[in-house]
């Protein structure tokens, strides 16, 4: 039963983090929230017995996509840090 409650809490957290990822100000914040969203999704998938999908979501959503997003964001900002 406690497991069920945890599952529903995670579902709520997924919705909240998805909403926040779109509405939060600042690109980097949004991407960090997006990776939190991915991690929560991973946990949800393990609850639903989808272990392979959970692993893929963890690696792609939280790992690879975050890296690509951060790189893209660093390329689309005005050159403050690039003055090397």
């Amino acid at each position: 039963m406690a497991l069920d409650i945890a599952f529903y809490l995670i579902l709520a957290a997924i919705l909240v983090s998805a909403f926040a990822a779109i509405h939060v100000r600042g690109h980097l914040n949004a991407v960090i929230i997006l990776s939190v969203f991915s991690v929560l999704t991973t946990v949800k998938f393990t609850f639903l017995q989808a272990v392979d999908v959970a692993m893929a979501e963890a690696v792609i959503g939280a790992g690879l996509m975050t890296a690509l997003f951060v790189t893209a964001i660093s390329k689309t900002r005005k050159r403050t840090w690039r003055a090397r």
């Binding site: 579902l11 998805a18 779109i22 991407v31 991915s38 392979d52 997003f69 893209a72 689309t76």
Partner: protein
């Protein structure tokens, strides 16, 4: 019950992603929305596969029932395809910023109208 809740979450996530894609003007934010929308379909596939009391589809487990493995395979494929498309979207964003110095899609429409 768990399945219904999972479907509802997937639908909510899909609504948020679609809403973001339609209303955001910033290309990075649109990319984020696309990513969220993609994962909503993965969630729906996984929810469709769920069987109450089913075990993960690994034949080594001793269980009476297993969850349906086919949607898991489809979901994996969908995740990877989504990642590929998202990478292209990011590449396009970076290329656009290089030429126009902005990632605001409404401004870009105005800027590219002069070309035609």
């Amino acid at each position: 019950m768990m399945q219904t809740a999972a479907y509802l979450t997937a639908a909510g996530v899909f609504a948020i992603g679609l809403y973001g894609m339609l209303t955001q003007r910033d290309m990075i934010k649109i990319c984020i929305s696309i990513s969220i929308m993609d994962s909503s379909f993965v969630m729906a596939l996984v929810a469709a596969a769920y069987v109450p009391g089913g075990a993960a589809p690994i034949a080594g487990f001793e269980a009476l029932r297993f969850v349906d493995p086919l949607p898991h395979a489809l979901a994996l494929t969908a995740i990877v395809i989504g990642a590929g498309i998202l990478a292209i979207a990011l590449a396009l964003t970076v290329a656009v910023y290089r030429h126009y110095g902005t990632t605001d899609i409404a401004r870009l429409f105005i800027a590219t109208r002069e070309d035609s």
